[in-house]
């Protein structure tokens, strides 16, 4: 087994052990299979087929390695209908799953762990007084307690077996432990569907499984479509924002980096997932209004007149005007509108101070200034991350919200920050450069007051 090579020895031991135990169980099941009559075998076949179909089309969670599928429902229905031995056999068919690109070791392990889970759940089911046979219509209520026991064992056991292999092969940090609760709930949901399949088997046989699982498959298809659209959407919004930035040679990639940094701060202060998405979009779109600022103002050397500065100050409003038709959270709009406000009230466009400034805007302000300082500009080179951090700390309380600055520093200390590549000064006639950056707190724009 070539795929085993390169794994640490304890991982090999674990994999071999799991597969070995499963083989032993399987051998025992086949020997003891005289318990299954002809009816049992035909049901077993249908269930195995069902399980295989479910197992072959899993949804991918965030982790590429651990795929979750509705095959649980089929496996648990097998516990009721054909007992522990049957459930183990049904689980073992995961080896044959037709997912392309799955290495043999993974197949074997998957089959083995399903077989073990199935057998254990079946054993629990029978210990709690359930009998493995076709439930009759009146006996539905008697099924519930043993089945709940079986599901309560199957789900965590499955999770532990998979989590262990991820830990041992060093992929554990990719398992989203935050989503664990949601994970278990959806597993238990699938378990309920298993009960329904088993309960209806007496009425319409295997059709019950089709009827229960069809809506789920459709749901999963729709969810897949949703994820595809989501990815496509994120790529599109990034590409369009970058197109807006091509105007200024030096600020390329600014929007994606501000989006990233805003997301880091938001995560650090514990924002929920919907708001997190919203602030990423707000960070991405915060400067779209800059296109409305005449290029000659941005390219002008030396101080600006008040009128010219007013043109710059207008860009958050312009940006808001552009994106207002999009169905974002209102907070995202507030973030775009007020990302140049300052804690001391000297910012623009409205001169809000302290807590009057929306939370999103306070976050974007920090991310915006930080990226500006750590990127090259035509009038200076990029500053190192530490220097930029010192500047942020210096500005905390006057320009920035201290809470957000602290959160950002913490996040960068932990995750690091990938500063943009060095920008090679472009030949003067091929690209546009600007002489000033309105985001840069270390070089504020000079304004000549008009008499």
């Amino acid at each position: 087994m070539a795929a085993l090579r390169g794994l640490p020895w304890f991982a090999k031991v674990y994999l071999t052990a799991v597969i070995g135990v499963a083989c032993a169980l399987l051998g025992y099941s086949v020997m003891a299979s005289d318990r299954l009559g002809w009816l049992g075998w035909s049901n077993l076949l249908v269930l195995a087929l069902l399980f295989l179909v479910c197992e072959s089309v899993p949804t991918l969670l965030n982790v590429k390695q651990a795929a979750v599928s509705v095959s649980f429902s089929a496996a648990l229905a097998a516990v009721v209908l054909v007992g522990p031995e049957g459930a183990a056999l049904v689980g073992m068919t995961a080896v044959l799953s037709v997912r392309p690109g799955l290495p043999l070791v993974k197949r074997l392990f998957n089959g083995a762990q399903f077989a073990i889970c199935g057998y254990t759940a079946g054993w629990v089911y029978e210990s709690l007084g359930g009998t493995a046979r076709l439930p009759d219509i009146a006996g539905f209520d008697a099924l519930i307690v043993p089945f709940a026991g079986a599901a309560a064992v199957f789900v965590p056991l499955n999770f532990v077996l998979i989590a262990l292999v991820l830990v041992l092969t060093g992929q554990a940090d990719q398992v989203p432990l935050r989503g664990l609760a949601q994970f278990l709930v959806s597993y238990l949901g699938y378990a309920t569907f298993g009960l329904l399949i088993a309960g209806l088997w007496a009425t319409v046989n295997s059709i019950s499984a089709v009827l229960v699982l069809l809506p789920l498959f459709v749901a999963r298809w729709a969810f897949g479509q949703y994820l595809a659209q989501q990815r496509s959407y994120d790529a599109t919004i990034a590409a369009l924002c970058q197109a807006v930035e091509t105007k200024d040679y030096y600020t390329r990639g600014h929007c994606t980096r501000v989006s990233l940094a805003s997301g880091m701060i938001a995560q650090e202060i514990g924002m929920g997932s919907e708001r997190l998405r919203a602030i990423r979009y707000a960070g991405m779109l915060h400067d779209v209004g800059k296109l409305g600022v005449p290029t000659k103002v941005l390219q002008k050397e030396g101080p600006l007149t008040e009128e010219e500065f007013a043109a710059i100050q207008l860009h958050p409003m312009r940006g808001l005007e552009i994106v207002r038709g999009i169905d974002f959270l209102d907070e995202a709009f507030a973030g775009i509108m007020h990302h140049h406000e300052r804690q001391d009230g000297k910012g623009y466009p409205m001169g809000l101070a302290g807590d009057e400034i929306p939370e999103f805007a306070r976050i974007i302000a920090v991310a915006d200034a930080f990226d500006s300082m750590t990127s090259d500009r035509s009038y200076r080179g990029a500053r190192p991350v530490e220097v930029a951090m010192t500047e942020l700390r210096k500005g905390a309380g006057t320009q920035f919200d201290p809470e957000m600055v602290t959160a950002f520093i913490k996040a960068v200390d932990r995750e690091g920050w990938k500063a943009p590549r060095k920008v090679v000064a472009p030949p003067a006639d091929t690209a546009e450069t600007t002489a000033k950056d309105h985001d840069d707190p270390t070089t504020p724009i000079q304004v000549v007051p008009e008499r």
């Binding site: 009425t203 459709v218 599109t236 590409a239 169905d327």
Partner: protein, 430 residues
């Protein structure tokens, strides 16, 4: 294409409906009245079952959602309605409610579910509701007379459920077909799509949703046999998952379109093109595309491409005066098209759109994709006419395009455009 007259209140809502919709609403209304009157006269049979299903229908109506293309659907309500219609027995007690009672429960449930929406100022799409009621009523009228005999065959330990299952599946398939055709007829009338294309579009949109709804509805009816009323609660679950997934999908689709529409406007804010140019070009292009019989996925690509057809100008040093690409030299226009396609290709997902944008300047002899031809013509028209509603100006622009037909512009596109613009003009005269 609907008129956007500035009148308010009920008359406006009515004016937006065309004759087909009105007819459907009237028929559905009559059915509802007949059902309720009959039930009121003869009394409600097994009221607790009716109330249970009615409540689920109301909940489903409350949780209705809008799918891409402004299609209102209520999957949970539809499944509950199916379940109530198909019900053979409840815990081995035969269900004897007549078709008219089903219609009454449906109507009352839907009305109850629509009320909270109405209270917060989101009136229901009357035509969509009427269609749901109408198809539900058709199924009830066809199936309820058969329910008794079917249960006779199925009941008892030796019972045979297969005939019941077969009849259910057959009738539901017929109902879905009626629903799809009805939706296509209404849509064809409303947006002037070709009927065949509209049927395909509706089928594509409806197939997955109806598969889930039909399965749940049948399940609901069958499970009531062994589980009693508890089935109502449990079987909402798989469908709830489906509903959530579809809602998310519909949400992102809507946001996507809004975002492209919004960001296409940066060219206007930057002074590269006339205000409203991208929006007008995309509306005209989609109308022409529909006239040419494009299906919905193609129309979506066309709309995106039309919205972003000038995005390449962002890479230019200075805005072209007025941004009128029909008056710029061809080399320059081609460069803008290339740059724009490059920007769109960066997304990594909109390759077809990028290709449409890249070839928007091609002449007929270069055989560009149909969508590019549409954009070329729509763009040229808007560059010449702009936001003006002057008929002479529109006529002159059309004349100029017609002169270029066969060489610069695709004759079929110019012809389609002529009829679209004529129709718009006649609407404006009203």
């Amino acid at each position: 294409m609907t008129t956007t007259t500035a009148s308010t209140g009920a008359p406006r809502a009515l004016r937006r409906l065309d004759s087909g919709q009105l007819l459907l609403i009237c028929v559905a209304g009559l059915l509802a009245v007949a059902g309720i009157a009959h039930t009121a006269a003869t009394g409600l049979l097994s009221p607790e079952i009716a109330i249970g299903f009615g409540a689920l229908i109301a909940a489903g109506e409350l949780a209705r959602l809008t799918m891409p293309g402004n299609r209102e659907v209520a999957p949970i309500g539809a499944a509950a309605a199916l379940g109530y219609t198909l019900l053979l027995d409840m815990g081995n007690v035969p269900a004897r409610h007549p078709a008219l009672q089903v219609i009454a429960v449906l109507a009352v449930g839907m009305a109850a579910g629509a009320l909270p929406h109405l209270a917060v100022g989101r009136p229901p799409r009357l035509d969509a509701m009427a269609r749901r009621l109408f198809t539900g009523a058709l199924l009830a009228l066809a199936y309820r007379p058969l329910a008794g005999p079917l249960f006779e065959r199925a009941k008892g330990p030796e019972g045979d459920w297969w005939p019941a299952l077969g009849v259910m599946a057959l009738l539901i398939a017929a109902m879905v077909l009626v629903d799809v055709v009805l939706a296509a007829v209404l849509r064809a009338e409303q947006v002037r799509a070709a009927f065949g294309v509209a049927v395909q579009d509706e089928l594509r949109m409806a197939a997955p949703l109806w598969a889930a709804v039909a399965a749940s509805g049948i399940l609901l009816a069958l499970a009531s046999h062994s589980m009693g009323m508890a089935a109502l609660l449990v079987f909402a679950a798989p469908l709830l998952v489906t509903q959530v997934a579809f809602r998310k999908y519909a949400g992102i689709r809507a946001t996507y379109l809004q975002t492209v529409r919004a960001l296409a406007r940066v060219t206007e804010v930057g002074g590269y093109v006339e205000p409203g140019h991208s929006h007008r070009v995309s509306r005209l292009a989609v109308a022409i595309g529909r006239e040419l019989g494009m299906a919905e996925p193609e129309l979506l690509d066309l709309e995106y491409a039309a919205l972003m057809h000038d995005i390449g100008q962002l890479s230019l040093r200075d805005p072209i005066p007025g941004g009128a690409t029909v008056l710029t030299e061809p080399a320059q226009a081609r460069r803008i098209a290339e740059l724009g396609a490059e920007v769109i290709r960066q997304t990594g997902v909109l390759d077809r759109v990028a290709e449409i944008v890249r070839r928007q300047c091609d002449t007929c002899s270069e055989t560009p994709p149909p969508a590019s031809r549409v954009i070329k013509a729509a763009n040229a028209y808007d560059d010449l006419v702009g936001g003006s509603t002057d008929r002479d100006r529109a006529g002159a622009a059309l004349e100029r395009l017609r002169l270029g037909a066969g060489k610069e512009y695709d004759p079929a596109v110019v012809e389609a455009m002529t009829s679209v613009i004529d129709r718009l003009a006649s609407l404006q005269r009203l």
